[in-house]
Symmetry: D2
Subunit: 257 residues, 4 copies
């Protein structure tokens, strides 16, 4: 194991003038899915006003059923980039296929690898050859070793700009969608030195828990959050029940401005 690149030395990742893993917690927000050009422009403009560091938005959506809405694809990515450029914000979006990396690289500021692809080592290795930061979500039932070693698959290629994201694991959940493992996230941070953020939207699946879990994550020393917002969560095309309004987001965000 002496070859490990991620050895616990604290790492700060720069995205434009942002520091991820630095003094201030990072807030990433935006819709689960980008639904139209007008929709993402509205999100970008509103979130910009109330305080967001990075915009999130899904254009390639991995869904349990292949017949569910799969995202707007490259068309959505065009909209996303334009909307974010208008308000001068960096963007993050999920990459699902090795073959998309090259095409996406001119659009995205950060590549997201979702829980379903945490063990997709071919994808991780290719991302390790790029010069873009990668946000690596923990798998549904991944151990800390598996998660931090997945990060190592990226780092091995030369790209050590990795942000880990704890998004809840599967446990005995009747009221919450997943179990947010803050202690595990801290262990991952200590082992690798990488910034670790939390996804309280997927982590709990319930709007009213997003604020408290944001507070808990920041209080214990984690580096930020990624939150699903929508101008009208009840009509969102995916994940509405864990998505909050701009105004609820503003209250959570406001504490840390």
């Amino acid at each position: 194991m002496d070859k490990l690149k991620l050895t616990g030395k604290k790492k700060i990742i720069k995205v434009r003038d942002l520091e991820i893993g630095g003094e201030k917690p990072i807030f990433i927000a935006g819709p689960c899915s980008i639904e139209s050009e007008e929709h993402i422009i509205d999100e970008a403009n509103n979130l910009k006003k109330i305080g967001v560091d990075i915009l999130r938005g899904g254009v390639f959506k991995p869904r349990t059923s292949p017949y569910d809405f799969q995202g707007l694809g490259y068309e959505g990515l065009e909209y996303f980039k334009k909307a974010a450029d208008n308000v001068n914000l960096p963007i993050i979006t999920e990459v699902l296929s090795e073959d998309d990396i090259e095409k996406m690289i001119d659009y995205v500021d950060i590549f997201q690898v979702g829980s379903r692809n945490m063990y997709n080592y071919s994808l991780l290795k290719k991302l390790g050859k790029t010069n873009k930061p990668v946000l690596l979500k923990r798998g549904f039932s991944a151990t800390i070793k598996e998660w931090t070693m997945a990060a190592e698959y990226i780092a091995m290629g030369g790209n050590e700009d990795i942000i880990l994201c704890e998004r809840g694991i599967r446990a005995f959940n009747d009221y919450t969608r997943n179990t947010l493992d803050l202690a595990g996230a801290l262990v991952a941070k200590n082992l690798t030195g990488l910034p670790v953020i939390v996804d309280p939207s997927h982590g709990t699946g319930r709007r009213e828990l997003i604020g408290p879990m944001t507070d808990a994550a920041i209080a214990c020393g984690l580096d930020g959050v990624i939150i699903e917002t929508h101008r009208n969560p009840d009509t969102a095309l995916s994940d509405g029940e864990q998505t909050i309004t701009y105004s609820d987001y503003e209250k959570i965000r406001g504490k840390y401005l």
Copy 2:
């Protein structure tokens, strides 16, 4: 379900002049096992000085193997009561048998029901007929419904002085002993109205995570913590690896004095 007694109305539990579930977070500390009279006197005196609300100490220890140390029993309880009375602190200890309730009732301020007995409805029903508060730990894999309904087994008998305690559940733990489910704890608080505290010692199994998880629990609105301390954790008769020194405890406690 219209018969439910625990309906979400916020409840504050008084133990002497303490308020559990009130404005201030409660700190419960003490050894996993009481090892001798001198040992618990030392713990009580030291913890009193650095700030503790309630003393914890095990005298009946439920161990996976019947041949492991099972606690000092009633002899230990005598020591515990005397040591706590000396410094005027209330005590909490675990009850394992229905037949012990009556004998223990004059000693303890709060009965603890451990994770192993969360589903022991006979024990819960009998505790529901006493006038002592009960701290009810969540089972190893209990759902929130099972946990809050176990509280209802106590409340049904007339005793609604119940404190819930989240102590970590079984999940995909390689570095931590359990997965501390803070969001689940909040849901249980919202559903029942009862105070809910957290056990970061069992919840993580690692000394260095006890402080951060205490901060996280309090930040998200939970009502306190129960922490294992020992004058010399490395020589503790049980659970040493998740037990902290008085001095480490003092640092955690100090933030909230």
Copy 3:
């Protein structure tokens, strides 16, 4: 650990003229709950005709909600004993409280400890002082070590007539109620030497899987099954969806007569 009483030496348990853990697989059947005198007489008479070794029937029912049907208690036990005596069959029923052991002992042939009480060491120790066999179900998330050590809590008292029962554990169950762990059951058998049977009713929660899981259990060397039957499963007071008719039971049983 040299004190262990259950060391892997194969043990056959005699109940009247039955051998549990011997050559032939044991079939235990009967209703989840005994609903009336007439109901259990009907069950006993019908099951006797189609082949059953031991009758099961719940009179003390541990339910998640304290306001759900809790069983007929001692009145039900009277009915049960009478119905079984009429057809000369031994009975097994669950004991929930330490205080019931003495009263139940003249009625039952085998005490059942349910999953909820697998860690109730006070109950196990008292059962270890009786001369009746004990069927010990595995806890919802118990490891094999915890389960076999719970058996040791009984054996320690002198009573080594223990039957282990695998009834499914909690995992990632969307179509089944639990995950039946046949390999874990075999490990427990090898470690202790005790007979191990399987509960495909709770283990799967689905009627159509009871037959196939019975076949799997017997094929891999386990010692029998415990199955929930009812003259009309759709009207059963509890667990109807995992309960089969006499006629479906007869088909499963018939293969092994």
Copy 4:
């Protein structure tokens, strides 16, 4: 959901003159990793003699650590094909990258998708455009719905020659590596109509359980097994503790010839 292609209609998959999902259970065997040309020739020759339907052998190995042995790659695949052709047996091997499909297609008879890639929908979609059967392992914590829907991702592209493989899930495993979910496998078979086989090597992680779990799987109506063999399991480059000798394999296989 009316668009589903896998609707429960029983499907038999032909590989050369073999029928998978037909009357006879299928036995797939071979080493976890192919270690050298001489090694796989030895395996192929020996397994052919004692009865195997399809040879398995890993050449691209997904390992938790990127610094562990990753397989011999295409060189290994050449050896594998040659060794199998010598004895006229079809082969199955794991594909890890979308970009390898085209290169591998002339070598393999069946593509294997491992647990780590069950949610790699890009890979599944591309395999759905090929004309080779795909063996799809269940993810570490996948629900039955997720698993059967992952199969649908393949079927959607036109390729319905899919074999499901239950390889054990993560649960409360202290003696076994995973928990083999036979009931879940049966549910998947009923829902999709596809053949479902079992991997008792990964499913248990213990040599002595491979025979009994094979018997259990076949007894409950599943369609075969995939077993790790090695001429000298204790020196295998990976997974030795769950790998059996030719002679032990022969005993298991012999029952079904």
